[in-house]
């Protein structure tokens, strides 16, 4: 992301699905949403390469958690639903585009 003197910072979003609610656990899925007009995310045939191996690595790189995995929902010890635990992180930066 390049800087643009005088421009306002924008919210970069990082969704991570981690193995457990612990920020040190392994990343299973990771998607960045850049605050740039027309930005798209897509599924690809290539093996994904993630920028961070854990949520903690993203914190070290300056991302901030804005939503932790929710545990208030009723817990079912037989059924399984989503893959991993969802962390949503942000980084406020001036971005081009």
């Amino acid at each position: 992301m390049g800087s643009d003197n005088g421009a306002q910072p924008r919210q970069r979003l990082l969704y991570i699905h981690a193995q457990t609610p612990n920020p040190l656990s392994a990343v299973l899925e990771m998607t960045i949403y850049e605050p740039v007009a027309g930005y798209k995310v897509e599924l690809t045939a290539e093996e994904p390469e993630f920028r961070y191996a854990t949520v903690h690595e993203a914190l070290v790189d300056g991302w901030q958690i804005v939503q932790f995995p929710l545990h208030q929902a009723e817990y079912d010890d037989d059924q399984i639903d989503m893959v991993g635990y969802e962390f949503i992180l942000q980084k406020m930066e001036v971005v081009d585009g």
């Binding site: 969704y15 193995q19 599924l43 690809t44 290539e46």
Partner: protein, 282 residues
């Protein structure tokens, strides 16, 4: 417990009305069935009569409208695919001796320039904790990585996951793109998470989807089953690294999910194995 190879139907009638030779050589083995229970998919590469794949692809390319459920009337060579003993042998192994080929089928044509399709499970969220409903995905022409292949996520078939909640997932570690050769027939559990990549090539990507269902509970295993396969001495230290049915059923964790989810998956898999074989696990 006896060691036996299950008998296949001696002369099943095919959809083209032909009597078919024994399926025994084409039945799956214990490890292949376990791998399906764990991962939710199995890929068949039937040795179809020369020209069948090309004929199907040519008819699809010439099609001016999608005939929906009538695709087999418009493309009769598809019946040869469904009747191939390698396809039927896999389906008997997974869906039972009297599996049903359901009425619904659909030609999925991914045109050049078509965007990706997001993760989803077909149907509503009343998921099957058994192994009773299946998708068959037939690809009559080669599918390369840039042609918008189907992408599946192994071991997601027992997850009761509303499709809308999958919209925050991008690429998942362990996902499998079905980059396949012409003639490939992939069988998946109906509830397996799947999507597609974008078609960035200049070619159309064809896939014809079929549905299959179990019509009755198994009375015994319907594949090449060794009744002692779960009872042999095993190296506990190898866990999922060992390619034997017990270790795979118990320890495989294709997506590296949490201990809690892994334990629940293990219980579901063991229940399914017992349902399919009629044999209690120790």
């Amino acid at each position: 417990m006896s060691t036996a190879v299950s008998a296949a139907p001696a002369a099943a009638e095919t959809s083209t009305g032909q009597k078919q030779c024994t399926l025994a050589p084409y039945l799956l083995d214990d490890l292949e069935v376990v791998n399906f229970i764990v991962n939710g998919y199995h890929v068949v590469k039937p040795d179809l009569r020369p020209g069948v794949n090309e004929a199907v692809a040519a008819r699809l390319d010439a099609m001016e409208r999608n005939p929906g459920d009538a695709i087999c009337e418009e493309v009769p060579e598809l019946n040869e695919v469904l009747d191939h003993p390698a396809v039927r042998g896999a389906l008997v192994s997974l869906a039972g001796k009297n599996f049903e080929t359901m009425f619904h089928r659909h030609w999925h044509c991914k045109e050049p320039g078509t965007p990706y399709m997001h993760w989803h499970q077909d149907g509503k969220n009343r998921r099957d904790m058994g192994m009773d409903k299946f998708l068959g995905l037939y690809y009559p022409a080669d599918v390369t990585a840039d042609m918008g292949p189907t992408i599946i996520v192994p071991a997601t078939q027992y997850r009761n996951a509303p499709t809308d909640r999958m919209r925050t997932y991008g690429n998942i570690r362990g996902q499998v793109p079905l980059v396949v050769e012409a003639g490939t027939f992939a069988i998946t559990h109906y509830d397996l998470w799947h999507g597609t990549a974008a078609n960035k090539s200049a070619k159309r990507r064809h896939m014809v989807k079929f549905l299959f269902s179990r019509t009755a509970p198994n009375e015994s295993a319907t594949w090449k089953h060794d009744g002692e396969c779960m009872n042999r001495l095993r190296d506990w230290n190898l866990r999922e690294q060992a390619a034997d049915p017990f270790n795979q059923l118990t320890f495989a964790n294709p997506l590296n999910v949490s201990q809690s989810d892994s334990y629940k998956e293990r219980a579901i898999r063991r229940d399914i194995w017992e349902q399919l074989t009629g044999e209690p696990l120790r």
